[in-house]
Structures are given as C-alpha cells and as structure tokens.
Subunit: 563 residues, 2 copies
C-alpha cells in the first residue's frame, strides 16, 4: 500500500498551513488596496515558490514544496480538488436565465475572442517558430496548434474569481464574460485534444467521441439535469439529516461530473462548473447550504489553488525576455481586441465591450495545465513554459484593475473606513446632546487639524436646523466642513442614553459624529446609510454596548454585516 | 514536476464521488436504525474495498481505488487531511472547563484502560508469540511492545464520531471518555515511538525530545494558547473580511499544529485536536464560523475518511480466525474492564463506569495507522494486520450500540416519524373544526385499523373539554385511544383558516391530528411540543402553506428545525 511517509505528511501540513496563511494575508492586503484578492493569493505562491523562498533557502523550499515524489503528488491532488470545488461554487452562482439572455453576445465574444489570438499565435508559431521557442525535431503543426491554443484559451477560474472579488459576477456583463469564458475554454480543450491525438498521446478516447460527448453533456447539464435536480432535492431533504444529505448529494454529484469530463478528455473543472450551474438553479438548494459550501471553498480551497500557481516555476531560471514579451503581447492584444470586437458585434456599448475584453483577458490557468502536459510530451521546452506562466500571471494581474478602471467600479464606502482608534469613545459621559457633540468633536478634530470648537459649532448649527436622532437609540450629528479632504467619523457609546429628539422618543445610546468635505454630498449620504444599516439588527445594537474596545467594535460590525 | 495523470484524476474524482455518496447513504441508513452514522460509513468502504467490489470486479476496483502509484498517494493525502480536519472539529466541541472538572476521572480511565489491555497483549505476545502471529527473526521485544500498544491504543476519531452521533459528546460522560481517549492515545504514540526507535526506524528525533515536546505542546495548547487566541480573534475579525479571515486563521493554525505533532513523532491528529480545543475555547469564534467548518468537515471529509478504513484490507484473504479472535478478545475485555475499573476508582456510578468502558472500547483507527507502519518495517505480517483491522471494525461496531443500551439513550421523537404520505392533506376543504377533525380522522384511521367515526368521536369529545387551537394559526386536536400501539399524526392545511377557538383569536391554518396509545402520556406531550417548536418560526408557517406535497412538507420541516 503506497502511503505518505512521516516526513512527507509533516511537510505537507506545514506547507498547506503556511501557504494558506500567507495567501489569506496577502489576499486581504490586496483588498485593502482595492485590488482583487486573487492577486495577493498568487503572489503568496510566488513568495513560497522557487523564485523567492527557493533562492533564499533552497533546501527548505524543496522540503516544504517538493516537485517530485509522494508529497508533490498529494499536493497536486489537493489543489486539483480545490479548483474543482471552486468551479462548483462559481457554477452555483450562475443564473441560467441570464445566461440564456446574454447567450448571443457571449457566443460572439467567445468566438471572436478565441479566433484572433489563435490566429496570431498560429501565424507566428508557423512562420516565425524561432520567436516562439520552437525546437527542431518537434512536430511543427502540433507545436503551432498548441501555442495558438495556449494563447487563446482563457482562465475560467481566475476570471470567475476576479468577477466575484469585484462584485460584478452576477451582473449582465459578468454573466456575459463567464459564459463566453466557459465556451472559449471548452473550445480550447477540444483543440488541445486534437493536438494530443496528433502526438499519439491521447488517452484512447477517439476525437469524435470527445466532441459529441462534450456537446451532449453540456446540453444536458443546462436543460434536463437542472429539471431533475429540482425534483430530487426536496426528496433528499425530506429523507436525510439536514444539511448533511444535501451537502453529500451536491458534492458527490459534482465529483462524478468532474470525473466524467476528465474522462471524456476535457478538464475536470468543466464537469464541476456545469454541476454547479445545474445545482444552483434549484430554489430548493437552501441559502445555508450554499453558504456553507461557498465559504469553505472560497476562503480555504480557492486561496490554496491560486497560491499553488505561483509555486510551479522558477521565474528567474529559464526566463527568456523576448519570448515572454512575444507571447504576452500576442495573447493580451489578441484576446482583448478579439473579445471587445465580439462584444461590439453582439451589440454592447463601447465601454461594456472594452470591459468584456479585459474581463476575458485573464489567461493562463488552463494554459499552465496544458503547458505541464505539453512539457511532459516534449512539445515545448522550459523557456516556453515559463513564458506561458509569466503571461498567465501578468494577464491576471492586469485584468482586475483594468476592469475597475474601465467600468469605474468603486468599493462601497463603509463608515469604519473613516474611523481611527482614538475616534471611538467607549464611555460617553455626556448628559445632553451639546456635550456629547463637543466630546466627539474633541476626538475627531485633531485628526483633520481643525479647531475642536469650530467643529462642534458647525455640528450644533446643523443640529439646530433638524435634530439628528434617527430612532432605535441611534443619533448621527453631522456637518460638512470647508477645506476638509476626507470624511471622518467618531463614535461614542452612552449607556445612560442621551436625548437627540429622535422620532421614537428613545434616548440615543450610539452617537456617530460624521464630518464630510463640503463638496462631497455623496459621502455624507453613503456614510449615513451605512450607519443605519450597520445598526439595523437589534442584536448588534445590544452587543455594541458591551464591546471592550475599538477592535471588538470593528469585529462586531464586520461579522454582523456580512451575515 | 510530478503530477497526477489524466486517468488518475478521472479515477480519483469518480472514486471520491461514489465513496462519498455511498458513505452518506449508508450513514443515513444507520441513523434510520438508530445506530451511529459511522457504522454505515465504514461499511461503505468495505463494499467498495477489495473484499466485496474487488471480488466482483477486480479490475475496476484497482482502477478506482489503486493501492499503489500516484492515485493511492493522492487519496492517502486527502484522507489524512480529512481526519486532521475532523479532529479539529472534534476539538472545537470540547469544553475546557468540563475537561478540568472531569480531569481526575479521565486520568484514571486512561491509565487503567491502557494498562490492562497492554499487559494482556504484552503477556501473550511474549509468552505465547505463536498465538499472536509472531514470525521468527523479528525483534521479539519490539514485537511484544507493538502488539501491546496496538491492543491498548484507542480510536480517538471513531470515539469522537460515535459520541457526536449519539449526541452525548458534550455531556460529562462524553468529555470524560474523550479526554481519557486523548490521553490514552498520546501515551500509545509515545510507546510506539519507543518501538520505532528500537527498530532503528525513528525519523531522527531522539525519544527524549519527542517526550518533552509532546508534554510542553499539550500543556501550552490547554493554557497559554487559548488565552492568546481569545485576544487575537477580535483583531482578525476587525481587520479582515468576514468570515474569510477567521476561517483562514483557524485552518492555518490547525494545519501548522498538525505538522508540529507529526514532526515531533506523534500523529498529526493530536495537533489539530488540540488546536481545535484552543480555538473552540474562545467565545469570539462566532457560531456561524463554527457551523461552516463543522458542516463541511462532518458531512464531507469525515465520511470519506471513515469509508477509507474499510478500503484498506481484503478481509477474505489473509484472514486467520484464531489470531483474530485472540486479538479481539484481549483488546475488548482488556479495554472495557480496564476503563470501567478506572472509572469506578475515579468515583463514577456503576452504570456510568460501564458506559465509559464501552465508550473507550472503540479501537483501531490508530492501530491501523500503526499497523501500516509496522507492516512496512516487517514487524508484523499480513495476517496480523488483517486481525488488527477486523478488531478495529468490530470494536467500533460494538461500542455505539452498547453505549446506547447501557445509558438507555433514546432518539428524540419527531412528529413526522408518526406520519405516512396519506396522512398529509394539502387542501383541507373543511369550514369548521368538526369537519376538519372528521376529514383527518378519515385519513388516519385506516392506518391503525380503527373506525374513522370512532376516532373522530373521541377527538371531538376531547375538543369539547378544551379547544385545541394554540395560536399562531396552529391547532392540535388529539385523543388517546385504547388498543392503539403506536402514535399516528395527520396534518391538514387550510388556506381559508378554520376556527379552533385559539387564544389569539386567529383561525388555524395548520391542523395536526394526534392519536396516541392510552397508556403513553409521554408520547402525546412530546409530539405536541415538537409540533409547537417545528412551527415556531413565522417563515416556516408561511412556507408550509406553499408546499407542493408531502415530500416538500418533510423537507421544509427538516431543514427548518436544524437551522
């Protein structure tokens, strides 16, 4: 019986723990800078990979992240499972109705977004093979077809992650991009199956079989299967313990579907993605079950997989600048231009078309998986492989920020973003609203280099026009100040309660002082609304009175709102 | 780079999907027969293992569940991760305060429960080695020590699973058993480390180091570390996205702790169990985060691991009846008698002591892990290994039902258990309570071979004494019938509403007719209470009016109550 050795297990768990911690940490950092979390997660892999950690402590790097032997295999199995489960979650989020509605545009985007980079890649690999790192002796047609595929296949998992990170996954544009990416990648894998057949490396499945089984499977998973699942789920929930029965059903179904597509000759992730679509379509799949799968997969498995991408290659060794630039330029321009053009033909506005172009531009996860196989069969060398991985990383890095820029996406403003630890007054001793406003002005004013008296005066003047008690123990005294550049919020808690003349005649226990720039109407309203929503639940209003300090106050608000 | 091949991935996912589905299915079946789910889960493994599926379709069995090569390694890595995560969940459920309170008893149970089977095992292996399958040429002392350890080490994961399945994990008795099992298994691993050192097979860690590091680590995880975590968690929640930050923190911590104990020379599961204890102690770990980890691990990872036990061996081949009976008799009597005696010395009642004895009697998961290593080092042969695995299975099978019998555990009665599909009337056309009672009596009476008229009369007589509308749109007409052997419940839904003279003056929309045996007071009250609780949430009362039939009705009740 082959099992992992004692030291392999030690290394595997240590590696998983460190990788997960780093990936989550850098993922959070990326979000802090308003970037998709996946950037931080991939970077975590590069840090622990051969390029950085491997250069500093090669023996440790090889011990923790072995490239050969049982540890490497086990790690590969885990990350493959991780990506399959992530695609299940991504599939569950897809709204089939929107897919049908956006189907025409998505088809245009997929076809045109595939054709252009494919032609670019094929042309260069055929007529200037040296530029692409072609080595004599290799089947030239297979090489050209492979490079064309590698440059035109998109990165379904990364695209899904970026759209989810940016919160536009379920928008019309998000659905168009994701549907096009699925279609694009399915096509890409079919072409790759041709390449493998040319090398005589296919797994015995004739090409025609791969083709028709893929088509039939996809069609079934979008029509008949969702219908069946919608009828099976109530039965499962009625006759099994909850939520174990549904969870087990969903996961088994996903794994078997993944095995099927892998067997057919396309990648396992297509099966799990389509299984997710079929499952997510049923209204019988309760929110709680979705949330359990979603949270565990998105925060544990997904970061591990994305980090593992950065681990694969030593970017310093085998790096060929000209080759990499060629590959990158062809892939990026071909994919963005092709997809955007397809979007325009499909009837999108210029901005949306460009957004779709950059949404599709994240490439390479699939390319890397193809690359590993191509490397094994001697079709490409290390230099080409590294150039493909670098291309994958850069296109993934570019896609998110470009999308944000083109679609002018802004992160919703949360009021704690405008607080500092000293702006939190745990015991507000004030007995009337004037005193309360003065105390809060005192803590807020130094942060913006204002005179506390002037701030208090402005707020009191506003208070005179209309009292700011908004009921349920909440008061939001505020003022717009000339010369202020960034909003500031100060919060005070009063266990005795202070009269702010609120409509429900109850005293205010939570008093939030909001100071905003004079020219920024939006900020004041957004912050006001956010405060109202944050304290909407009674349980939050009760718990907030018992927090021990600023950190617990923040912790309460974060865990309260996301639930 | 070593990766899984195309066909290995296909086999792995198909195997995982089939195994998970079967394990969940048989787990549910076991629960239906009032047995711990883990029995069904292990049985699923035996079905797919070499003994049954392997005998029917050997080629398929080897394809799906290979014993050598990449697929076997990846599967081993996954199940090792699964058991580590399951022990994290088990650890999170432990209440440290109870452990300290039950510490003395647990220590007695662990010591005595270890000493007796250890002496039995050592004595027989030393003086009658042939009976234990000893092969000449092997280090006799090492062999005797190993057999003694294998017979005295308990199965922490199985014990935890059985206690959780039986819902007594957090009781005083449950905590005593689990604390004793942890202590017992820690000791067992330390002895095993001695055996490995004797064979010169240790991983380079001197024995003394293993000993003191285990002690220091355990002490720290029960004292300083929980204190630190309680202070770190609010900070994590305040500064990261929720629940991703906490989930990532908890899992990374668990994996690194697991790696540490594996490195020290004891098994990875001790690290993750103690990490769970340290994490679960903090009230800052919110219920939702616990639930997410708990559900995913308990319903996905745990069944996979427990099923994998049954896969390991061909029970038909290498089976030696005498050897197996010897091993089984020594292990079972030694462990039960030793633990029960320890419990008595620690001051438990006779019944509780016997309960603890059988609670501790589940053996072998650890023994199997030890056995695999012992097999590799040539210390034991296949026959001994099979006897250890069979012993593990039988003691695990015996433990749960014996616990139920000794502690007289009963499953809580749920009213749907007394319903049949024909007892559910989706559209109750009745306009007054007499008619409603008559209709429901009509559907219920045939099931118990009663005259519908007589049933209706008895219920109406009861109704006259006191109206059974209990408010919130619920009515519970009921009667106790002489000669009835088992309660019956019939439910009718009336969208128009029927007056049952309820205290809040609202008409009843959900009418539950309850018929119970005349001598069984408990049943009527339990069913009444269960109905009241089931429909307590307004959202359930609203949703129930829209169910399409009996199955959806059951599904709603199950998913509603567990949430």
């Amino acid at each position: 019986m082959d099992t992992l050795s004692h030291s392999e297990i030690t290394a595997l768990f240590l590696a998983l723990g460190l990788l997960l911690a780093t990936a989550r940490l850098l993922g959070e950092t990326a979000r802090r800078f308003n970037l998709p979390a996946v950037l931080g997660e991939i970077t975590a892999g590069i840090l622990w990979g051969p390029t950085i950690f491997g250069a500093l402590a090669p023996a440790w790097q090889t011990f923790l992240f072995p490239r050969f032997g049982g540890g490497a295999i086990a790690f590969d199995g885990l990350t493959t499972l991780a990506i399959v489960l992530f695609l299940l979650v991504a599939g569950m989020e897809v709204d089939l109705a929107t897919v049908w509605r956006q189907g025409k545009v998505a088809l245009w985007v997929a076809l045109s977004g595939m054709l252009l980079p494919f032609s670019f890649g094929f042309a260069v690999a055929w007529w200037a093979p040296g530029l692409m790192g072609y080595e004599p002796g290799v089947n030239h047609l297979a090489f050209a077809l492979f490079m064309a595929t590698a440059l035109s296949i998109s990165a379904l998992p990364i695209i899904a992650k970026i759209l989810i990170d940016l919160n536009i996954y379920r928008s019309d544009l998000g659905v168009t991009v994701i549907a096009a990416a699925v279609f694009n990648d399915l096509l890409g894998w079919l072409v790759f199956a041709v390449v493998l057949a040319m090398l005589g490396a296919g797994d015995g499945m004739p090409l025609g079989h791969t083709l028709w089984m893929t088509l039939v499977f996809t069609a079934a998973m979008l029509t008949v299967v969702p219908w069946c699942i919608h009828r099976i789920l109530p039965w499962v929930q009625a006759h099994t313990s909850w939520p174990g029965g549904v969870l087990g059903f969903a996961l088994s179904f996903c794994l078997i579907a993944a095995a099927f597509t892998e067997w057919v000759g396309i990648h396992a992730i297509f099966g799990s993605f389509l299984a997710g679509v079929a499952l997510g379509h049923s209204s019988h799949l309760r929110e709680r079950t979705r949330t359990t799968i979603d949270q565990f997969v998105s925060f544990i498995f997904a970061p591990l997989f994305f980090a593992s991408i950065g681990l694969k290659v030593n970017f310093a060794e085998h790096f060929d600048l000209l080759l990499t630039l060629t590959v990158l330029a062809l892939a990026l321009t071909g994919k963005v231009a092709g997809s955007a053009l397809g979007g325009r033909w499909g009837g999108l506005s210029r901005r949306d078309a460009l957004g779709v172009g950059f949404g599709m531009s994240a490439q390479g996860t699939m390319g890397i998986i193809l690359g590993v196989l191509a490397l094994q069969y001697g079709l490409i060398n290390q230099q080409v492989f590294v150039s493909l991985v670098v291309m994958a990383l850069i296109t993934s890095l570019v896609s998110g920020p470009m999308l944000q820029f083109i679609l002018r996406l802004k992160k919703p403003r949360r009021f704690p973003d405008y607080m500092q630890p000293q702006c939190f007054v745990k015991h507000l001793e004030a007995t009337d609203h004037r005193e309360a406003i003065r105390v809060l002005s005192q803590v807020a004013a130094p942060l913006i280099n204002f005179d506390p008296e002037a701030v208090a005066k402005a707020v009191l003047a506003r208070e005179k026009i209309m009292a700011t008690g908004i009921g349920k123990g909440l008061a939001v005294p505020h003022a717009r100040l000339p010369g202020l550049v960034k909003p500031v919020v100060a919060v005070g808690l009063s266990s005795a309660g202070i009269d702010f003349d609120s409509p429900d005649d109850t005293p205010a226990h939570v008093i939030c002082l909001i100071l905003t720039p004079i020219h920024d109407d939006g900020a004041q309203l957004e912050i006001l609304a956010d405060i109202a929503i944050s304290f909407k639940a009674r349980v939050i209003r009760e718990k907030v009175m018992n927090v021990s300090g600023y950190t617990e106050f923040l912790a309460l608000l974060r865990s309260g709102q996301s639930s």
